[in-house]
Point group: C2
Chain length 169, copies 2
Amino acid sequence: MNTASKAGPPGRGYVALAGWLALCYAVAALGALATTNARAFYAGLAKPGWAPPGWLFGPVWSVLFTAMAFAAWLALRTAPGVARPRAQWLFVAQLAVNALWSWLFFGWQLGGWALAELLLMWALIAATLRAFWVLRRAAAWLMAPYLAWVTFAGVLNAVLWRMNPGILG
Amino acid sequence: MNTASKAGPPGRGYVALAGWLALCYAVAALGALATTNARAFYAGLAKPGWAPPGWLFGPVWSVLFTAMAFAAWLALRTAPGVARPRAQWLFVAQLAVNALWSWLFFGWQLGGWALAELLLMWALIAATLRAFWVLRRAAAWLMAPYLAWVTFAGVLNAVLWRMNPGILG
């Protein structure tokens, strides 16, 4: 019984991990739907010298979505309390905003709106990271590369929006 | 004695108000130093149709700096506690960042860095407003137009940075 309790409440074991992975990959796929022509679109943009090559984004996002699923699992399988529903709400909100960003930037090519939405995404990820920190430190650390990448993506979004007035709205 | 205690701790009455006004106007002047050629500079920028006329900025900032001095006075004359030094630190930090923005945008014409710095300023103002809210609601309300204006200034900064690649770095 003690071991079971250490492994977290029922329904928050490996089945829950599979659930979080499924949710995160579903959201990643929803965003990826917007990027079907992304390689040609990205290749056609004026870019700064430090812009990463197009092939890098897929692998990076795969790692980040996997890490955030593990983060959600670790943080939200902890004992129930006031902090947990809030953290879960923030995590799901940042996921939704993440998928929408792909549509704004790649799907509808609205660089300015994408930038504004990315600021909201950044704030939601930071709030999620902070909420996870209270629940489980390791979960917060798993969100840190994601926040760092979105910071970088924000700078890239801003610069691409500026450099491509004819393409990005 | 009760009346004196209601008016706040010693040194936090009208002398303190004068002190906050002096500090805020000094910071406003420090920022204004960067904008000595601002009217001609702003007039020469490509602008969206909704950009406010140049003469509007001075009056708006005068009102906002006055309101924030009153906000600081109201919030920070409340009874001492853990929340007060933090609120004071946040208020002074956002003031410093505010003055630096004028130098980045008008003085050094670094539109991209100004935009990035403005995001930090926005976060600091929001945190100050939140800290004031705990201390005294009226003080938080006095900060609200400032936060709204900086939100608008952020959008304007981003659009001007994009529309003037040859002028704004």
